[in-house]
Symmetry: D2
Subunit: 336 residues, 4 copies
């Protein structure tokens, strides 16, 4: 039984992690931490867990942590996380980090997009990018897994088979994605105030979204050469889910059937990637760790569609999938 701590348990990814671990047959929650102001009984912080979890969320005590847990799901924000992760590792835990702090291998890119100096280059070098469909073998032995961003998860799964085969141009990829509002986190803001966000849809982060270099890094690693991606996120008036519509330019003629074959083959052993013969809907995957993909050739372009739940496959579900792999458990535990 893996003993799991959640660091930063008071946000949406914390709650989603609690929900999943509660029904995991070989892992159990042992320690939940948050900033002092957000502590309290789980059932007071999250009424949905009343009667389901009797733990307290407490301020982090590293000694207690070392004593109580084998794994840490570190749900801290970008920039904050790298201040904690070294100590979590020192405490002897395996760490799945939800922030961007250990995703971008090039600290200059990190520093440009996150506007802060990177302070933990050592662990960054050792961290493994936690997309099991691409890096399962590396994850197996890892102490520190950088759990991917929600948008990169959806976008990458939609195109890596193409990149792997060198089938598409690498300088003209366009990722158009729409996320549910939970992607904005739990802090109230004007844009996400219900009467503003409801019945709404808008683009944001034009040209500047931090998931763009993350996509490019991994896509580049798979393609074996520099990849340039124009990533345009949008926010929609639904709770959960990301629909990515990805446009690529094929290098040679390819038809729908060949594309379906290529993707089906690439993902044939993947428990959480499902190839569809029609366009997936966000609602088909909400609440699950699945990614549904459809790919078609349209007017000389390849268009790939992928749907994930941003809080599950895009965050907590994938983290627990990674944790399962790290600890040698059945990969799908808690997630089926």
């Amino acid at each position: 039984m893996v003993r799991v701590a959640i660091i930063g348990a008071s946000g949406y990814t914390g709650a989603e992690s609690i929900r999943i671990i509660l029904r995991h047959s070989e892992a159990r929650l042992t320690y939940l931490t948050a900033l002092e102001a957000e502590c309290g009984a789980v059932e007071d912080v999250f009424p949905q867990f009343k009667g389901r979890c009797s733990l307290q969320i407490e301020p982090l005590d590293f000694a207690k942590l070392a004593d109580l847990a084998d794994a840490a799901l570190c749900c801290l924000p970008h920039k904050v996380s790298m201040g904690f992760v070294p100590k979590l590792l020192e405490a002897g835990l395996k760490v799945i980090d939800f922030s961007a702090d250990y995703r971008l291998k090039d600290t200059s890119v990190y520093e440009r997009f996150y506007q802060v100096k990177h302070t933990d280059a050592d662990n960054l070098a050792r961290a493994v990018f936690g997309l099991p469909e691409l890096f399962r073998e590396r994850i197996k032995g890892a102490d520190l897994v950088a759990n991917p961003g929600c948008f990169p998860t959806g976008a990458l799964l939609a195109i890596v088979p193409l990149l792997k085969k060198g089938l598409v141009e690498t300088d003209s990829i366009i990722v158009n994605a729409v996320t549910g509002a939970s992607g904005a986190g739990k802090n109230p803001s004007e844009k996400f105030h219900f009467p503003n966000m409801n019945e709404n849809l808008f683009a944001y982060g034009t040209g500047t979204h931090r998931h763009m270099p993350e996509m490019e890094q991994i896509a580049g690693e798979i393609a074996g050469s520099k990849v340039q991606i124009l990533f345009q996120p949008h926010a929609g008036s639904f709770d959960r889910g990301i629909l990515s519509t990805v446009y690529t330019q094929p290098r040679k003629n390819v038809d729908d059937e060949q594309l379906f074959g290529l993707f089906s083959d690439f993902y044939k052993d993947e428990p959480f990637v499902q190839m569809r013969k029609d366009a997936p809907a966000v609602k088909d995957v909400v609440g699950t760790n699945y990614c549904h993909i459809f790919v078609a050739c349209i007017k000389g372009r390849i268009v790939s569609f992928s749907a994930i739940d941003n809080l599950v496959k895009g965050a907590s579900g994938q983290a627990i999938q990674n944790m399962n792999i790290v600890f040698g458990l059945e990969e799908t535990l808690g997630l089926k």
Copy 2:
């Protein structure tokens, strides 16, 4: 042409008032004010007015106000309003006040529910409760109209014909109402953060909602005796609208047809009250100044249903209806 100022123009009722006045053929906006921090070009504060209104929202200057406007729609919050209204009146304007400050005639009730001393008893005494369907004649000559609360508007229209005729017990009225989230105002909060409020419904203000004494005061005035109302509000995951379901105990047998006749007769000259032969939906009235009502006898009780748009008939639309009456204009101008 009535020259209209909006005091506190930066909130939801301000925006809705702007929207309505923009298409009013005998009134025009001349002066918009707000707290310094919320000032700016209308089209910057409210992108929906880009190209439709070239005014600035400015800090309030009473001299300028006196010069520029005939009517003030005072959209300030409870407690704040009574600090401004005396000066608006002194400046020679007719005032339609959106706050509760001039609604409750008994200052001890006001002070108990609003937890603040009432500082303008003089104007309170002169203020007219702005529900045209009940008090049109008084409104005609008024300098100061207390625009009704959104819940009292919906609830009262659903039962005053019964109270007027003495048809129902006055000690056992239950008002169960659900409001759209715009009722909570424009300030972001945890409860109304989109991922929390979306797909949700909850009761609030159990036993303490401030619209309860307001309903009781007007209902009592109509009934000619003390009326006790159990008012239970709920918030739902839609932008606009209030659906009130009101349960009353008849004093004698009455059937559906008699009830329909009674209500139809009571409202026969009212432009904005429509009697329905089936239960009204919130969506039937959203964006309009109409109130749709259905009334039925069920298991020995009378159940009245009313639907209004909380920002229109429940706030800005009714205010402009009142303004039209005060200035002797066609009552429906800007509102059809």
Copy 3:
């Protein structure tokens, strides 16, 4: 391992039952049936189950059923169900029936509300009403469990402690409830067409809703005398959940603390009923088998609030809770 068949697997309660059984550690799906026109691979009928369930939904064959299953979740509509249940029982299965056909003990009431002759009085007599919080002992030995309606589940849990203690008048109970749109079932209709239902809220079934006699029957059984309930349902623009606001008249003075104590004591051993100290939100229980309850004394009335997920505690979850009880399994399996 209990082998479970779902009869009428192609609707919303069928899908929800599949979802729950898929993660039940001591039950597994073995046979899914539907009308010919709605058959096919589960993953084609419900894309959300792609990769999660490899069964086919097939036309019902009783011989096959007898061979393959121990339990039948019978998700057929009212009136249809009683044509199938006798044969399911004959085939040797334990049956949890989702329809109203075995809930109303008085066939004359059934026939008045459902407008059809009851054709299976024998099994009706033996059927047990499947609200475990009230009838757990009876359910243990039952062959046929009549799974309660969604509204009765929410309403009854909110008031039975009061009725059991004789604390409230039994002739003046008012149940005001709002259900999510999934309550209308999967067949497209004008009222539930997205652009009509979205951003909407309306009352329906005024005075005629079929769950009214069901509530009265069980409430009467608990109270030990005839109970009259005015039940008014509403439909809201959210997927799932029922919020019930129930107004009762106390027979003697009682305060909030006494009420909380009474309810807490009544439900102290119940795994799925949680007493709250504030009003529950629909979102606190969505996706779970929990019922959250808050009760308060307001202006001389007792107001009880309960929130459930209409498809879980109000249908499939409760059915599986009943199945667990019938088969002597841990009651919460698959439902935590």
Copy 4:
């Protein structure tokens, strides 16, 4: 006073046209028609018009039509419309046709995409494409205006300044658009059943949407050469609005400021097109005839964003704008 008939008044664009004409100061509704099964008092067909419109919706009688109306808003479906338009014109009316039947000048393209023979080539030849921002002069003298599709309206306004100046490649335009669910029309269907469509987002019409050739025709006319557009529509869980995100490849370097200048200049006299300095939200234009546009240079591409209300600028509002132009009225009447 222009006397307006609406042919096919019982659908969403009919209702929206009624709403707008009701507050048009120089036009009034005189005749509303629909299929027999959808006839009745306006207030029965559309409860939102109770007390606002006393007309009947009747089966079409051409003699009556000729007698009662000057203008026909023809809201009939594709393929049906071309059977009626010739007779509407013969009756002496100016016709604004909402269908696609008079939009595609090349009947072979029409016949391929709509799978039916075009039967009115004569009027097709004379019909004017009703996008006032491009073809105002032609519209002025027209008897028959083909009102543009909703997607082409949003997409074209977002890129025509670029095409006019020859600034972008014409073989690689990608239009990614999301429409509100009202775009699917009023007929209930499985996909748009509330519990299916709510909290959802999906792509549809991959490679086959009928608005694609319409966009290409007009874009080609503006560019002066063949234009190829990859158009991918999506449906989102909101009532109204279309957000188009359009990706184009510039032929030479251009920066954000130049783009803003180019667009601002192109649209400087347009009452309903507003240039934004940030990405527009669907909610900024809902309920209005406005189109908000933002354009930016991102990673070597030009990305244009436009937001319209699909039922107003994308249908009924634009039709009435066209009607105003045809009759020499102030173009913005009824639409401000």
